[in-house]
Each structure stands twice: as C-alpha cells, then as structure tokens.
C-alpha cells in the first residue's frame, strides 16, 4: 500500500517496575560493577526474574495502517496506552518491540504551551514555542499577526506571560500549535481548555486541518467532539487494541463496555450486597422495550430495575434510588414507600422498576446509588454507592453542534416544562 501515512507493526512497549531499591541508583550500579556475582545471587534469592515478572506492558501487539488524510480517534480509559502510542509515533519514546513507519512531518500537541517560559513576553514565546513545535523562524514571522489574532491577546502580546490568566495562556499556546504546517497532526486531549467560543474555534481549525488532507490522530474523552471530528476510531483497553472500526461503533462499544461503571450489575450468590433480611441480586438501567441500555436519548424514558430478595421481614423495606451527575452532584432521589399494595411474602424475589420520564436529565453521565432500608426499627440493609451509570445524550445535539443550541444546556436538570403562550390585545402601539 503506497498511500499510507502511518503504519504500525506489532508495536509493544514495556516498563520495568522497580522493586525495592530504585533501579539505576549510583549505589546499585557500583555494586553491580564491583561484585556482579553477588548482585546476581541477590536477585535470584529475591526470586525476582527481571526478564519476565517485572515488566508491565503499556502497549502490546499494536498493528494498524492509517492512510493519508484519515482522521482517527483513539479511545480508551486512562492508562489504556493511547498516550504511549502517540509518543511512540511522535518519536518521543521508542517502542520496546515492533516497528512503525511515519511518512511526512509530524506536529505533536501533547501539551499546550510546550516550551513556554513565564519570564518571556507573549511575542517571544510564540517564537520559542513555534520552534519547539518545528516551525521555522520565517514561517512564524509571516504568521505572527494571524497567531496573535487567533489567540485574541493583541493587547497583551508584549507582556510577560507570567501575568497572563490561564485562559490567555492556553489560547496563546493553542494558537501557535494551530498554525503548524505538518502532514500529520497528533493531538492529545487538549481541546478541553478555554471557553466554549474558543473551543469551537479550535474545533474549526481541526476540521480545516482534516479537510486539507492532513492525517490527524486525536485522543479525547469527549465523545461528542471525537464523533464529530473523526471518521475512524481505534479502541484501546489495557494496552491492547480491542477494535478498529468506524467512530460510531467504537464510541458505543466504549461507552457500553469499557466505561468505569457499567449500566448493569449482577452479583453471584456469595457476594450479594445486603444482610440476612435483604439481598440485592441485580440492578440495571433499561428502556421502555426492556432492553438494558448504556446510552439513552434525552427524550426517552429510562427505567432502573432492581431485583432483590427479602427474608423474615415484617414490613416492606423502602427502596431508595439516588441520582448523581458526573460531578457527583446529588440531582434527586426517589423511593417506593407509598407504592406497595400487597402484603409481604417472605423469601420472594422482588423486581421493582423506577421510571424516569424523558426530558428530565440533562446531557451527561448519570450515576446511581442504591439504598434499601427498613423504617421501624431503622436499619440500612443495602447501600451500594456508584451501583450503575448510564449516559444521557442529545442526538440532535450531535448533529447541530454548531447551531445556536450547541453544547451543553446549562443547569443540572433539563425538564420539559409546560409553557403557556397567549397573545393579548395590544394596548400600546409601537411607534410607526
């Protein structure tokens, strides 16, 4: 294949874990030189085999080909190996095995403001950061005005950047980076800086880069952004490549199976949360069609289904579901105290579902804490924090990111409320 931009063949990277003494201290090295036999014996007696046991594979068996002009999103949890891969491709670190070929000039944005120095002025830092990123002096000079305008800091360009606000700092940093002339752009989770207007500007710049036929490798935890920018995705988990497919497939696969809290939990018989009276068997989030869901549209109704067992209880226990958002803000709670109609029958499996109407949650991840308690005497039987979670998304929002309602609607909830709109007869007339 002639037209590739990046190929990787079985790339792997491992790190040694240091056991006990720090590997590589002067003391240890001198010991090793003076007395190699003793050193080796000591190693053996500790039954540590450095060759096998102490390696952590940050990346293993990574192979892919990215052709010219593709925009690829790398998705995975923290520590999945995305950044390590980017560093290998950028040449910052070498792989432990395997081989990668990269065609053309690489622009690498792993950090905003690489090389910035607080004592220099904005203008001086543009030159500094520009040459660190591989721009030539002539290039920077010819784009200087463009960069300053993009960063929106015309008034402060000759001020030392230690006096800048963090927003100004990041804007300047990204402005320099955005004006790199490269064939391959590597971007690691840096678009999440700045205010919304600036973020949009950056996204626009990235779009431009992509439509110019540059190859873009993009890492972000913002699924909406990644979906909008990329057309192909690669999913990483614990250093391995799980999937290489279209971005839609990758995002849903990731949200469903690799996000920290699943949307469904079942416990096996030995580890049921609870006590002798109440045992929690499972909990899941489902939609109206009784399908377990990980992602739900903002319009749709969500059900939280709880299955538990009770034993030797005189009264119905109260099931309480607490809803939290991603910032761990307690949104609201719901309980079933007034909902029980029948008498209690012991040793039964009970299945309850709490329905939350559509148009109530705002966009984002919702986390659920579950509590099952008796009131008299008061006793908590089950208390599971962070039991399940699901993602509420606005499908329309993905399509209309650029529109007037783009981005997140403010507020923690987003209820659909009733509005009365009347037209009264005008008493005043506007001047004609």
């Amino acid at each position: 294949m002639k037209n590739f931009s990046i190929t990787a063949e079985n790339i792997g990277k491992h790190y040694q874990i240091k056991t006990g003494q720090r590997y590589g201290t002067l003391k240890e090295t001198i010991n090793r030189i003076i007395n190699p036999f003793h050193y080796r014996k000591k190693l053996r007696s500790n039954s540590i085999d450095r060759k096998t046991d102490n390696k952590i594979w940050a990346l293993k068996d990574i192979s892919f080909t990215i052709s010219h002009g593709e925009v690829v999103g790398l998705i995975g949890r923290n520590g999945a190996g995305k950044s390590t891969l980017l560093k290998i491709i950028a040449g910052i670190t070498t792989p432990s095995c395997g081989k990668a070929k990269v065609v053309g000039k690489i622009g690498c944005l792993l950090e905003v403001g690489a090389g910035f120095h607080p004592f220099l002025t904005g203008r001086e830092n543009i030159f500094l950061s520009g040459s660190v990123l591989g721009l030539s002096r002539v290039d920077i000079k010819s784009r200087l005005d463009e960069i300053i305008a993009f960063a929106e800091i015309e008034a402060f360009i000759d001020t030392q950047i230690k006096y800048y606000s963090s927003g100004m700092y990041t804007r300047l940093a990204f402005a320099v980076a955005a004006h790199m002339v490269v064939d391959i752009l590597i971007v690691d989770e840096i678009l999440s800086v700045g205010d919304i207007a600036f973020q949009k500007k950056c996204l626009g710049k990235m779009d431009e880069a992509a439509s110019d036929g540059r190859t873009v490798l993009f890492v972000s935890h913002n699924m909406a952004t990644i979906k909008r920018l990329c057309n192909r995705g690669i999913l990483f988990h614990q250093g391995k490549m799980i999937m290489d497919a279209t971005i839609e497939n990758i995002v849903s696969q990731y949200l469903n199976n690799y996000c920290n809290t699943p949307s469904q939990r079942k416990w096996t018989s030995f580890e049921f949360p609870g006590n002798n009276h109440v045992k929690l068997l499972s909990i899941r989030a489902k939609n109206l069609q009784d399908k377990t869901i990980q992602t739900i549209d903002i319009q749709e109704t969500v059900g939280i289904e709880i299955i538990y067992q009770i034993n030797a209880l005189q009264q119905w226990p109260v099931v309480i579901v607490h809803f939290m958002n991603a910032e761990w803000l307690h949104l609201f709670s719901s309980h079933d105290y007034y909902k029980h109609s029948s008498f209690i029958q012991t040793s039964n499996e009970i299945c309850e579902t709490c329905w939350i109407p559509g148009q109530l949650f705002n966009q984002g991840r919702i986390f659920i804490h579950l509590e099952i308690s008796s009131l008299s005497p008061q006793k908590k039987h089950v208390n599971v924090k962070d039991a399940i979670s699901f993602e509420v998304i606005d499908q329309r929002c993905l399509e209309e990111m650029k529109g007037p309602f783009g981005g997140q609607w403010p507020g923690v909830l987003r209820p659909d409320l009733k509005w009365d709109i009347k037209q009264n007869k005008t008493i005043f007339c506007f001047s004609q």
């Binding site: 090295t29 560093k87 950028a90 040449g91």
Partner: protein, 274 residues
C-alpha cells in the same frame, strides 16, 4: 514532493549519530540558548555583571592568598592577570557544566512532550555561556592594557583555544547531563567535583612547576591545556606548551565523541526516566 519517512523501532547496538538532524534543528538550538540568556537578564538585577563578578572576585582572592601570601610563582607575569587569564575560560567551563548538568532535568516537560534531537539541550546550555565568556574577556583585555602587556603573535591561535574550551565544556557537559538523568546522586557530588577539578587545573599555579613528561601527561585534564593555551596566546608566557596542548586536544575530542555516542545510546530512555 518527496516526504521524509520516519522509522520508529527499538534502538539497538551502535546507532548512527544523525548529526544532520541536529543541523536541521539549529534554529531551535539558538532560540533555546537565546531564551536562557534573555530570561537571565530579565530575572536578575545585575544581569551581565555576574559574568564579571564571579571570575573577578575569585581573581582578587587568588591574588591575595596565592600571589601575596603563598607567593606562588606566576611565570614572571603579574599574578592578578596570570590567574584571571585562566579564570575566564575556567568560569566558562564551570557555568557550562552547571547549566548542561541541569539541561535535561529542567526541560522535562519538553522532553516528554515534544520530539527534537535531545542533544540540542546540552549544546544550547554551553552556547549560553559564550555571552558571559565574552563579557569576562573584555575585562581581561582592559586588565592587559592596565598591566601594559602587549600580546605576541601567538594571539592568532586564540580562536583555537576558545574552540578547545567549547569542545571540553561540551564533552564533559554531555556526560554530566546524561548521567544526571539516571543518577540523581550526581547532583550532590557535582559541586565537590568542580572544586577538586579546579585544583587539578593550573589556575592558581603554573603548570611549569611540573617536569616533562609529567607536564604533558597533565594535559589529560583538557582544562589544563585550555588554561595554559590561553596564557600562552594572550600573555606570551615563556614557551609554547606543545606537549600539554596536544594531549589536551586529543583528550577533549575523545571525551566529546564518546559523550555524544553515549548520549545517543541512552537518548531514547530519557522520556521514560524523567
């Protein structure tokens, strides 16, 4: 347009030095050096004066202690200028070592986030010192006028000795920068090493105290050659210190070349170690 293909693979054995890449990044080299110079002048009150204060005060102390009290011979040259002519390249050497020893550690954020030939960092650390060197050198010229010393024809060799100073500083600087990444202990030993080195270099005394062939062997310390060379070129000390100069030049080049190879050999581990 032919595009360059970069290969990423595990480094092994003897690598090619890829010095051309260093040339491609020359702008970065100078801009990093310029950054350090300009930051220094913005940060410190006295700025360039420090370049003079350090060797000058040392010279005064030496003149009093070694010149007056200990009456150490100085090849028939007034002791102050005898020691100052040696202290100019010596302070350049010490400053370069100080800066390059920290050059990799203090630029961690660059090394772990951006790709460029890492050799640029110790190089630029040494280049920064050149500004200070020339400031201190001007004082040396003023002192020569003051003592009425007229340089001999040997002056035309001065650029060679400046180059030798650069090579020595670079060579040792690269070694120390590299070792400093791996062995943090070195940071503690460093001031002591410098101090000891100062006394095994003929700064406070002339190398003519030694008989041949020991004097030539003394050149294994490349700074000995540098210092004697400076004195010979500028002050016209009695005889051309041939043996010591040849030995010093060779040893400086060997140190530099080995240093670059060693640096390149372990370069790829910096991002992981820092």
């Amino acid at each position: 347009m032919k595009k360059k293909i970069h290969i990423r693979e595990p480094s092994c054995g003897w690598i090619n030095l890829n010095l051309y890449e260093l040339w491609e990044f020359r702008e970065l080299l100078f801009i990093l050096a310029w950054r350090d110079v300009s930051v220094r002048y913005k940060q410190t009150l006295l700025g360039g004066l420090w370049a003079i204060i350090q060797p000058f005060v040392t010279m005064v102390i030496f003149s009093v202690v070694f010149g007056r009290l200990a009456k150490i011979p100085s090849d028939n040259i007034p002791y102050p200028i005898f020691s100052y002519a040696a202290l100019v390249p010596w302070s350049f050497f010490v400053n370069s070592l100080n800066k390059s020893s920290l050059s990799l550690i203090s630029n961690t954020n660059l090394i772990t986030k951006v790709y460029f030939p890492r050799l640029i960092l110790p190089f630029s650390a040494v280049i920064v010192g050149i500004v200070d060197f020339f400031i201190a050198f001007i004082i040396l010229l003023i002192m020569m006028i003051f003592y009425g010393i007229i340089p001999t024809l040997a002056l035309i060799y001065l650029p060679f000795f400046i180059l030798l100073t650069l090579i020595t500083s670079l060579g040792i600087g690269i070694w120390i920068a590299t070792l400093n990444v791996k062995f943090y202990d070195l940071q503690n030993a460093f001031p002591f090493i410098i101090q000891a080195w100062m006394f095994i270099t003929p700064i406070a005394y002339p190398s003519s105290l030694l008989k041949e062939p020991w004097r030539s062997l003394y050149g294994l310390n490349p700074m000995a050659g540098v210092v004697e060379g400076f004195r010979w070129a500028l002050l016209g000390t009695n005889a051309f210190p041939g043996g010591i100069l040849i030995v010093s030049s060779v040893s400086a080049c060997v140190v530099l070349i080995c240093g670059i190879f060693y640096f390149k050999r372990v370069e790829h581990t910096f991002a992981d170690f820092l």
